[in-house]
Symmetry: C2
Subunit: 251 residues, 2 copies
């Protein structure tokens, strides 16, 4: 008997932003494995299921547990925050399954990313080319992160900053703000969202020069506008191209 494993994102938080497919998969699953914080959002959907809640920094252990349950014949959902395919559990799971592991069928179910959720709350900052950069240097040397920030700032990308800070990482955000500030006006709009689509949601738009002093955490995301991003009717908007002017055809 072949095991079945779905890797599924919970979206930004509120189960309203789950896709129908994600919901169906969670209903069909016999066992659900995930980081405890994300499972909390799903509680009403988990009744009667085998639930394995894990802690931060144990991604590989959770992936292993999910694989083991699936190999034992259970239908398993491995849960990730946001989209499981963006800095999520899909990678660790597929790496651990490895080559030729034909005994477990894996389906990655796409979801709403933290970046999309933050962008929607801010307005429309992602109308043109954008980059996602994680400021976490636990797995990636800071030099590489700095190089990526510099490259995307210089080439005028809208930049989504994942994992901007945590209790033990506080110098990365001011450093990132300073790198980006070399290429962008201090008045560039930056959208900051905390607890997107969750209790305690905060949304604000600040100038780039105020980003360094901000106190953020792992539930936050910052989106730095490109050179043309502006604030319009209280929302952050990036025009779609040079031809874009309010009231005129954009294409």
């Amino acid at each position: 008997m072949k095991g079945y494993l779905w890797v599924v994102g919970t979206g930004p938080g509120d189960p309203e932003h789950l896709t129908l497919r994600a919901r169906r998969v969670l209903e069909e699953a016999e066992a659900v494995v995930g980081y405890e914080t994300y499972l909390r959002f799903l509680r009403p959907l988990l009744e009667g299921k085998e639930v394995r809640a894990g802690r931060m920094r144990e991604e590989m252990r959770r992936a292993g547990e999910a694989l083991e349950l699936a190999r034992g014949g259970k239908k398993v959902a491995l849960v990730s925050g946001g989209d499981a395919g963006v800095y999520g559990m899909a990678g660790p799971l597929l790496e651990l399954r490895g080559e030729g592991a034909d005994d477990v069928e894996v389906e990655v179910v796409p979801g709403v990313t933290a970046l999309s959720a933050a962008a929607a709350l801010l307005g429309a900052p992602l109308m043109h080319d954008f980059a996602a950069v994680s400021l976490s240097d636990l797995l990636t040397p800071w030099e590489e992160i700095a190089e990526r920030l510099e490259a995307t700032a210089r080439a005028d990308f809208v930049i989504g900053l994942y994992n901007p800070a945590s209790r033990r990482r506080s110098w990365q955000l001011p450093r990132a703000a300073s790198i980006i500030g070399r290429y962008r006006s201090p008045h560039t709009p930056v959208g900051v969202v905390r607890n997107a689509c969750r209790p305690g949601q905060e949304v604000k738009i600040i100038p780039l020069k105020d980003l360094a002093a901000l106190s953020l955490d792992m539930n936050s995301m910052a989106i730095v506008g490109n050179s043309r991003t502006y604030v319009c009717g209280g929302r952050m908007v990036t025009p779609r191209g040079y031809g874009s002017q309010p009231g005129f055809p954009v294409r």
Copy 2:
């Protein structure tokens, strides 16, 4: 009376990938405005509603129509493909509404992006920093697109290529492949997805050296791996950091 307007993405295609919130909004809307191709996916949800289907390249006209309906007192959904906040209708709508347009309340409903959908079908290519670059030079000069490709290729981003080609744009994809090829091995895995989550879906993983010769269209997306992306059990996987090794804790 204040008008109400939702900007909502249909996700990649199959309404299974709509969020619950998006579905609810479409149910509640009295009028639905959108590009005809995307409305087709939603047909079962549109019965009994005023539907205004528009053609390509008329984004501003559609945004204007939606605003007008909302100002007339209707609850309106303005529909976009994928996530309305990523190269979608959220921007044109907010730009057209302009400053001080307090007569229409706008809510952007986040959705599953074309990039997330393609990534899920391919495996887990977006486990590390990534950039989205549109190859359409209708609104953006090619020099700027080329510069962005070069910057992200050099800084080892995973690169999602939106709008890789169309009937009238065929030289951009080979040009992009050649720019990226200056910084990446010809064997770098590239995931190519056509008609994600729709009839006629095609998914393949090819080496970068074969990208230039590919015949793609506006329903396609290509994801170019970074220097560490590999194929594992038939899926495209980008490790999450230097420490990542199958079977070992990644954080």
